[in-house]
Amino acid sequence: MERRETGCRPAHPVAIRVMHWIGVYAMGCMIFSGWEIYNASPSLPFLFPTWTGLGGWLGGALAWHLSAMWLLFADGIAYLIYGLASGHFRRDLKPPRPAEMMHDLGAALRGRLMHHIGHYNAVQRVLYGGVIIAVILQVLTGLAIWKPVQLGWLTGLFGGYPITRDIHLATMFGIVAFVLIHVAMVVLHPRTLKSMIVTVPAEIEADR
């Protein structure tokens, strides 16, 4: 299938690129310091390897976690405002119809799904939409276990402190699973990495 470039609009506007990489740093700090915090009192029968922890000990890890959360929060709010105001969500991340999703998922699993830089297929829309919801859930459950008394209504909404802590851990696994799939896709299509760093024109979506 032929790929052509339009030059009309960048695959990713510069605002998206900046917020993406700030988000990568903030989420990295949150995940790796979170693993160190988990290790202080594991609720599952395993520990994260010591070398993956950020902060060196529980106090250091919490300092990282409670610092990077503001960066993640600010970046996330900016992204949500931008996504709504610019039409990015409406244009690019519209939930696909089931038939569309089945078609693209089938093609993806057979390794036949085409990716056009600057356009989002059904599988991408579901994954990117899903991780946005997961990060919002992670911020909310994080607030709920940080302040289970002052924000007790929020903790209560999730089912109380111990359950909210479990949801926070489970959502982390969901986000990490997304990151693994996302990075694997970038490895398969390295030109997408370039489009998230420098201005690359969006490709014209070829006929299916």
Binding site: G55, G60, W64, W70, Q150
Partner: protein, 252 residues
């Protein structure tokens, strides 16, 4: 007690707190870590590097946010007696067999910005109105458990000794070497108590006999056991864990 006598002169448990502290101070840290990969190795609040200073500044910002979120009227959830966690988990900066007995001549010393500095005895504390609570104790490590305490509301006590209620800090010293401090607003929250009883019995030594702080609006390390002195002050008092890098306000 006999198990204690059979222990070697120096056991692992003996030196564990020191080992922990050494590890935390960074001397025994693994050479390779994600910190190292990001050239942030040693950024664990122990080195006072630029990044450590930034983290400490962020923790002070977090403290201000927490103080703003805090309301003296907001109560921690209370539970029925059937929800009490049994067995209740012992936790301290030392092992359970190292628990200290209260000195024979125990008294609670009061100092700082107070009118009446006379030391308090247990009968005098028991003569004050008692407050009972079944609340969740949340450890900074993430685990939690529900326990039952009763004792004197700290606000009642502070008014009794004529404390300056506009002072910033209330500081606690313990005869087991521990210390901590809290803000005045949290000290006056009605569920903040000087606990005398645990599960309707006088505190046993491992639960902080004869007197401990119980403050369900803060993380567990603020609920200091084995109290021996209370000071009301405007000078930041810090505390055992706070001085090592736990965030001071530690509200929940």
């Amino acid at each position: 007690m006999s198990a204690q006598r059979n222990k070697p002169a120096v056991s692992v448990a003996d030196i564990r707190p020191d080992m922990e502290r050494l590890r935390r101070r960074g001397f025994l840290r693994n050479a390779l870590s994600l910190g190292a990969l990001t050239m942030l190795t040693g950024c664990d609040l122990a080195t006072h590097s630029g990044i450590d200073a930034a983290l400490e500044a962020m923790l002070r910002f977090d403290d201000r946010v927490q103080a703003a979120l805090f309301s003296r009227q907001r109560l921690a959830q209370t539970y029925p007696a059937s929800d009490i966690t049994r067995p209740y988990r012992f936790n301290a900066y030392y092992a359970e067999w190292q628990v200290r007995q209260a000195p024979d001549n125990w008294g609670l010393n009061v100092s700082g910005l107070v009118v009446d500095r006379r030391p308090w005895t247990l009968p005098a504390l028991l003569a004050l109105p008692q407050h009972e609570q079944i609340t969740r104790h949340i450890c900074i490590e993430g685990w939690s458990q529900i326990g039952q305490w009763s004792g004197v509301q700290l606000g009642t006590f502070l008014r009794h000794v004529g404390a300056d209620l506009s002072a910033r800090y209330v500081s606690f010293k313990c005869f087991d070497g521990y210390s901590t401090s809290i803000d005045m607003a949290s000290a006056l929250q009605p569920q903040t108590i000087l606990a005398l009883d645990f599960e309707e019995k006088p505190l046993a030594p491992q639960w902080g006999a004869p007197l401990r702080l119980r403050i369900p609006t803060k993380l567990g390390f603020k609920s200091a056991k084995n109290l021996e002195a209370i000071e009301v002050t405007n000078k930041y008092p810090g505390g055992y864990w706070e001085n090592q890098g736990y965030d001071w306000f530690a509200g929940v």
